[in-house]
Symmetry: C4
């Protein structure tokens, strides 16, 4: 869109916004570096919008700055905003493990926020669960119709599963290490492996999903994603690009699974 | 498209058009401000074209300048033009409640209009109904195939309904306030709420839909949209972004509903 | 794509191509004018590629310069090239009614053509039929899957038809004028009108379709399009934008018709 | 995406990367020439990502520099990277027929590679098979869902076939020349020809597909593609553009075949 093009000379900001942010001298932003987490959240939310994974104000991505000076720093988008129109200065920043608030977009000058009062994304406790329980580097939440349709076509099941599809090889082979107590990546899944993704039931409030998401994460040490019935999916990875790749591979498999199911082809090969 | 890129330095206008409009000193345009209603109509119609919500010359969006000096001013696109190629100077401007014509694109110099005689969009009386009866800030009309397919799959029904899908939470909870006589937004819909959208029958002339649209708006105080059988949908909201978000959420639900219906999954959970 | 962006400063040409074409002083090109037929063919073929209407080297558009000094001049793309990568200097130009060749891309310097020997599109006699028999201003040919699927789902029929869908109103109401012998546009189709598009059988050679296309055009004076079984569709209009709008409206209706047929909903309302 | 736009002034590189690559004085790169194989791989992988043919890190394209000084030079993308974000300096370069390594991205300065250790794409032996056995100029591998679905809908068959669809004419007519022992292109397929594409069974390791791919290539001298069950497709052509056109035409036919099969329409006309 033309107005997007107009703002491209300063990343995701207009010239005026750029000047305002520069004056802030905000250590949690770096408008000129497209690989900075605050900028990547903006870029990826636009991509996810084009792919129909986030729509309305639903869905999004949180990134932990795993390659930065302080890898405990987490960037979170605000709640209730159009994710494809996010600006880097709208991010919340918290520090793990206490989730201490280091930066709020509400501290920005009014010329930037237009007096809007931001709240962190309702997904925050769910993203935090992935950081805390799995040491994730980024976590994606989508309302993908493929995810919702699989949760409906497997309505009476607590697990979605598929095997013998090449794209499964894009997913990590995870193992619970008894000595460290951590889930560790020990390789990639194989073509003939059965990918199992737990499905949890949706709750009226997004934050109320936290308990069942954490349970599923613990009960399924091999998974890098959790489906939420009639809602969508959470996918995480070691860093932002791994999370993106896992989400793309899983959505591909969910899309294929819907087609297979409707054509009466079993998704798990006997 | 390249020619779009060529014109991006002055928003939606070529350099020559920009100069011509500047000379006009037209108080109803502001080419440099991408958030101005006349520019947003152009931007959003392009987006809606990419999303296949407007095609041919059908569909569009009208915006009331709720944050401007005069919130009674309404921007309307012309009829019979390709909506994804609209220019800001092609807009009609009227003032509520009398719908007094303040600006016509036919007053532009011929170098801009190329002698084309513009008429306001045929949707105008329908957009006006949303402004007058619901104090809407913007109103979207699409020929979305999901809307048409739902109206066909629910052919014998005067209502479309769906429940227990997360995306429903993007929609407003509306209540008729007995003391003020106005419909007011009192929050957001819940996951388990049943979204009900009335379906009215299509008429040969678009303006003849006005009566039944107004009836539906009055009969369904909780709705922020009306489906038109074998035609499309009207969606409105408190401002342009809310209308956009509501339209995206509803179209997502209509798309999902078609898939559910064809897979024999009830859209309303028992 | 980035390489497309690189060439955008001179329309659809790189800087080097632009210089080479300028030196040509070719009266049939006007690189700086995005509305020139040679540029519009490039722009629209890119759009049609994105919409999946042209793919591989199939499909395309021819434009008659109805608003130029000589409205008998017709621009035709070459055969066997990727239509989304066309350059304006690759066009053939012929003059009606004799179809006299006024310009061939093979006359360009080798630095432009890279010694490639161009032939006019195999659709040329079909495009010419629309110009000659209907005084069309532009003619579009696509391999749209919606067109092919309709020709398959209506396999035993020589006509596709649909009624009572709003989008039908985007199509022209055509009447054979007995006194002039011409087919004339007398308005727009109505919502309740039945749109009938003839389906002709495909032939091994594209040019061999000419006779049956001409027959269909004569037998169906009300149509602005002809479907070709297992092949695609030809759509024409008074000028390039009308042809584009008609093609969009018809493809929308064909897409909807496939969905309706598969859901056992009759496309013509009783 | 905005960050893509930011880097467009130097092709697919940021200004800093451009400077670093320039200093390299690397004879296998030519950042300013968009038609150079290293740049075309980047451009086409982005296109294939948008078309959903490559996703996650799967799929890609290899190009042999058939029009360069040394037509035995082959460009190969690295394994395990997001193909739509490839940079030209990340390519491996090998020389046929010994597949001698001429260039490795691992020789780039660390500021470019960020210490990442690249490996050639796991498809390399399969691409090489097409170069060696068919003298291909480029080879495309996709995980297209249409390819996977056809391999599932034809689960008990070792061949996919379709006839009497116009798009078949985009594919080459190949004949085994007894005297030279080579497969040669002798024209284009005809509308009524039956396109037959062999389907080989998938293997746990991509390189283990080599034997069965080579067998299929030898057994089916008329084919320019091989389907891999539950995996995707390999398509090659005389040069990069022919490979792209063949891939587009075949994917179009596979997409149509899925629709025909699900609608109980035979893909081969009796």
């Amino acid at each position: 869109m033309t107005s997007d093009k107009q703002i491209s000379s300063h990343g995701f900001c207009t010239h005026a916004e750029f000047q305002a942010v520069k004056v802030l001298n905000d250590g949690f932003l770096s408008l000129d570096d497209p690989t900075h987490p605050a900028n990547l959240i903006c870029e990826l939310c636009r991509l996810f919008y084009e792919k129909d994974w986030v729509t309305g104000t639903g869905g999004g991505i949180s990134i932990r700055d795993v390659k930065g000076k302080n890898p405990n720093i987490v960037y979170i988008a605000p709640s209730g905003v159009q994710k494809e129109r996010l600006k880097p200065y709208e991010m919340f920043v918290v520090e793990l493990p206490e989730e201490k608030l280091l930066r709020s977009p509400n501290d920005c000058p009014e010329e930037l926020t237009k007096k809007y009062k931001y709240k962190p994304s309702a997904c925050t406790p769910l993203f935090m669960s992935c950081y805390q329980l799995r040491d994730a580097g980024a976590c994606i939440h989508t309302h993908s119709q493929n995810a919702v349709m699989c949760s409906l076509l497997w309505e009476d099941k607590a697990e979605f599963s598929i095997s013998h599809i090449e794209q499964i090889k894009a997913l990590p082979l995870l193992k619970h290490n008894q000595s460290t107590g951590h889930v560790e990546k020990v390789g990639s899944m194989q073509f003939f492996d059965k990918l199992v993704i737990p499905i949890i039931e949706n709750t009226p409030q997004e934050e109320d999903l936290t308990d069942s998401l954490q349970e599923a994460i613990k009960k399924y040490p091999n998974t890098t994603a959790v489906l939420v019935r009639r809602h969508g999916i959470y996918v995480w990875g070691e860093d932002v690009w791994k999370a993106k790749v896992y989400n793309e591979a899983i959505d591909y498999l969910l899309e294929l699974a819907v087609k297979m199911r409707l054509a009466n082809i079993p998704t798990v090969k006997a």
